[in-house]
């Protein structure tokens, strides 16, 4: 009876791993565009430092900061950006033979952040968002 919680915990970890793998698979194989909303998905990378989460998003054709909208919560970012020129995919059937002029991406952050203190800048069509971690690390004094 006393061991039941152990098996329950293992089962939950197993479910979490399965969910994460499915999420990775879904992210990897889904197309990088949304035909219905005429939005493209940008490439992005996440860097983690002791104090911050740094998210960099590649936004070709986005040249003005006024064209970018970033919404941050404790656990995710929502990025929308308007391109200065339309991206033409008129010869590609899979892209719906049309043009796209927006980016949209929701990014799940690896740890909770202080969204109010987030800062962003746009340089060379790369959007960099710095989000301070909610649980900061402190140096432990060695006695």
């Amino acid at each position: 009876m006393g061991e039941e919680w152990v098996f329950d915990r293992i089962r939950k970890i197993h479910e979490e791993i399965e969910r994460t793998l499915k999420e990775i698979e879904r992210e990897l194989f889904k197309p990088l565009f949304d035909f219905e909303h005429k939005c493209l998905e940008p490439l992005y990378e996440i860097e983690e430092t002791p104090d911050e989460i740094i998210v960099r998003v590649d936004l070709p054709y986005v040249r003005k900061k006024e064209d970018v909208k970033v919404v941050a919560t404790e656990e995710k970012l929502i990025i929308e950006a308007k391109m200065s020129e339309k991206a033409l995919f008129n010869d590609l059937v899979t892209y719906g033979r049309t043009s796209y002029h927006m980016y949209r991406k929701e990014i799940l952050l690896p740890t909770l952040v202080d969204a109010k203190k987030a800062k962003a800048r746009l340089r060379g069509c790369i959007l960099e968002i710095r989000l301070p971690k909610k649980h900061k690390m402190y140096r432990v004094r060695i006695e």
Partner: protein
């Protein structure tokens, strides 16, 4: 299972083989594609294997294979429109070395990227060169290309270099500072400028720089797939310090 080279046209003898495969920042793939276009190089052969993904590409109504060789009178370019999977590194490297012997090629020059954490600050990426033979290292220095002194090279290029090292075949790699996870036409332009100095040919990279945003946007899918395949090809070693510093 080995790789087969299916010839469609003749391959020139005594040529230089230039290899640009999907890797860091897609520097190699962008460079090889630009070279083929710039020099109007015709498709000479394609590579096939039962272990390759079941993919056929159409360019301007014509079918072709994603991994192929284009050639003119003195250059052969190996291009791939799909990431090379780690289980194909050695068969591909062995096939390249056997092709080199068959067409008595002068040397192999590979083009790739090296991740630069401060790439966003860099206006003109630096290009480093590495070579199997001492005489090629001198060639690199004479062309004003800084030698790659210490560090790891991992992935498909490392496997090709290793096969060339076994038979002491002249092979050079040009590595341009690049974004790791985004297509980097700026880095490809820098690598091609280094190649032009090395080969003594003129390559006008302006069209590549003018199309930078379009290339970055349209190569997102290939970049995403390449990043995921690089994770399985020991690329993390490139961030490590070799043992000599221990």
């Amino acid at each position: 299972m080995s790789i087969e080279i299916v010839k469609r046209n003749s391959l020139p003898k005594n040529s230089t083989i230039i290899i640009g495969l999907p890797d860091i920042g897609l520097v190699g793939a962008i460079s090889s594609s630009f070279l083929i276009k710039s020099f109007n190089m015709k498709e000479a052969a394609f590579l096939d294997s039962p272990k390759f993904p079941p993919i056929l590409v159409f360019h301007d109504t014509k079918p072709t294979a994603p991994i192929r060789l284009h050639a003119d009178d003195d250059k052969v370019v190996l291009i791939s429109e799909i990431p090379i999977l780690p289980n194909q590194f050695t068969p591909l490297a062995k096939k390249i070395v056997s092709l080199v012997e068959e067409i008595e090629a002068k040397r192999i020059i590979m083009i790739g990227g090296i991740p630069a954490p401060n790439r966003i600050e860099i206006k003109k990426p630096k290009v480093y060169g590495a070579a199997i033979l001492e005489e090629d290292r001198k060639k690199l220095e004479n062309a004003g290309i800084e030698l790659f002194k210490n560090g790891f090279i991992a992935g498909v290029y490392a496997t090709i270099l290793k096969e060339c090292m076994k038979v002491k075949y002249p092979a050079i790699i040009l590595l341009a500072e690049s974004y790791a996870n985004y297509p980097d036409p700026g880095a490809a332009a820098a690598a091609l400028e280094a190649l032009s100095k090395l080969l003594g040919i003129t390559i006008n990279v302006n069209p590549l720089l003018q199309q930078e945003e379009e290339i970055r946007l349209k190569l997102r899918e290939l970049m995403q797939r390449t990043v995921s395949s690089l994770k399985a090809s020991s690329k993390e070693y490139e961030y490590a310090v070799p043992l000599m510093y221990a």
